[in-house]
Amino acid sequence: MATETKVKKIGMIQALNMALHEAMSTDENVIVFGEDVADPEEGGIVGVTKGLSTKFGELRCRSTPISEQAIVGAAIGAAIMGMKPVAEIMLMNFTTVAMDMIVNHAAKLRFMSGGQTHVPLVIRTATGAGLSVGGQHADYYEAWFAHTPGIKVVMASTPAEAYGLLLSAIDDPDPVIFVENTLLYFTQGEPPEAGKRIPLGVANVVRAGTDATLVCYGSHVAPSLAAAQKLEAEGISVEVIDLRTIAPWDKKTVLASVAKTGRAVVTHEAVKPFGVGAEISSVIHEELFDQLQAPVQRVGAPYCPVPYSKPLEVAFMQGADAIEAAIRRTLQSRVAA
């Protein structure tokens, strides 16, 4: 895909692994635990934690029992004491068994204690359709966490973004859910600058444009760019915004863009109804009703569990085509202004 040959690309897993090495090297309060993460051979199921237990010892990087409540509980307690735990919940569907710890405790302790305690933990978790794993291994719950005051949600779209965002998530004084996409694990990208943080809460305008704004994040950034590129050939200029942080999201950047373009599409891999797109669409309508040339369009998965069978999974996953169609819908329905 790349035309340059100079820069050596790196993979998503490697980028995340580099960020963890960097964080553990520079701050001894950073600790890592989760199922299988201390396996010295492989470093967890996909290798994100490779080498950490060997380099930093099993006191700071340890494999846990299959006990997600205990994992997140341990992260909360350690975080209150000033550690910086990075807990891994292998897949996002398994956050459901730790939901009390995340929602009733991690997210609320700062507020309920009147600021006396706070919970600077990171929960890394992965998910995503496309690997034929069926209904219980590919759900997205970022909308749930965004509806939960007190916890931040971050999703990265490239290796370098993942590196910089994960470092910021670890630095952050508040709890952060860091969602990794399983298909993106197998992608390559530009290497990050060593130690370089990407601030949370700031969206990234990955492509400038004038005719419509496309808001996306995580696994939907690449197909958004593909759709934008395709439309460019027709002279349609699409601005693509990678949210990076889903909660709290960067309203300023999104609204400034839509104020300029007058049209917007929000897209994500999660199920469309009651998804993150609903909030962003609502806010755009509320704030820019008079400037909008067409109603904001949303793209998301259909309202059903993730199916196993390949043709069903393909139909379930919305890609560049669906995004392109949504942009076209915003262009067609221009109101008589």
Partner: protein
């Protein structure tokens, strides 16, 4: 083999049939994945054949099981039809679940495979509910929950055992202890000397048994199932075993002890049992060879049929979300 009183010859041979079916199904699974024709995520149960074989000969089709992602052996032992199973593994419209569930969610109520879950620990609380229905109706059915050693550390295990005990539910908790949860050894994660000990927390019988010994496993299962059926409540069985092919097919399994694995494979329960059956006059080599050939033929046919079967229609995404189809 265990020296306790042996079951009938027919049962001994039926256990072998089930074990062979599981073993051959596993071999064919790994082979077909490598061809790319059915590219499923596969958690091999090879090495654990004996456990569900011995449990299932004590069950009727009216009895139900709840099993897990590593559960093909449990399903086959319970009698899921091969064609329906393979069509599901291949994601076809003719599969048990119309292709919508896949390997981790095989369901076939007609043969008593009620739930297959991909969430560690979840088979237990649901099996309780199945048993609860039987208890209320007094229909004499029992429910079996299968799960792994790693699952004994999750909250659902504890809640389910306590509830089953306090309510005396007709349920049997069968822990298949293969010494690993994913990449991590038992001793690193599990504070109990043996999982069977945990039954004491619920004043429930807890039995550790060699899960690779068909006769011992048969007796452990029978005792527990009889007990449940008689309304005397649940049992926790810890069946010791080993998985031959790592956590998931394709994993490098370097985290496993090479010698330990070699020893386990050398003690492969399936050929060992075959030899025992012949040595003890329960079956002739010819009889078993013929059985094996027939299983092979049935499996081949099922797999070929699966590959030739039609894919589901995209409109299936709107069906089975609710009873009523979702509008297009």
């Amino acid at each position: 083999m265990s020296s306790t009183k042996e079951p009938d010859r027919a049962i001994l041979v039926e256990m072998y049939r089930k074990m062979t079916l599981i073993k051959q199904n596993d071999e064919k699974s790994r082979a077909i994945i490598l061809t790319g024709k059915i590219p499923m995520v596969y958690y091999s149960p090879r090495g654990q054949e004996c456990i569900p074989a011995a449990v299932s000969v004590n069950l009727t089709t009216e009895d139900n099981i709840c099993t897990i992602y590593r559960g093909t052996h449990d399903m086959l032992a319970k009698g899921v039809p091969l064609k329906d199973l393979w069509a599901e593994l291949a994601g076809r419209a003719t599969g048990t679940c119309k292709g919508k569930g896949g390997p981790m969610h095989i369901t076939h109520p007609a043969s008593g495979v009620l739930v297959t879950t991909g969430i560690v620990g979840s088979s237990l609380p649901i099996a309780n509910g199945v048993a609860l229905a039987s208890q209320i109706r007094g229909d004499g059915r029992v429910a079996v929950a299968y799960f792994g050693d790693g699952a004994s550390n999750i909250g659902a295990f504890h809640e389910a055992l306590n509830m089953a005990a306090i309510w005396k539910l007709p349920v049997i908790f069968v822990c298949q202890n293969n010494l690993y949860g994913e990449h991590t050894k038992y001793e690193k994660t599990t504070a109990a000397k043996q999982i069977a000990d945990r039954a004491a927390s619920y004043q429930m019988p807890g039995v550790r048994v060699d899960g690779n010994d068909p006769v011992a496993m048969y007796h452990a299962a029978k005792t527990a199932i009889d007990r449940a059926r008689a309304g005397e409540g649940p049992t926790l069985i810890e069946a010791m075993t080993y998985r031959f092919y790592g956590h998931v097919f394709g994993d490098a399994d370097k985290y496993m002890d090479a010698d330990e694995k070699k020893a386990a494979m050398a003690a492969d329960p399936v050929p060992r049992y075959r030899q025992w059956l012949i040595d003890n006059g329960h079956a002739s080599a010819d009889e078993l060879t013929a059985m094996e050939a027939q299983i092979d033929a049935e499996l081949t046919e099922a797999i070929e049929a699966a590959i030739a079967a039609p894919w589901p229609e995209v409109s299936e995404l709107r069906k089975d979300v609710f009873a009523q189809e979702i509008a297009a």
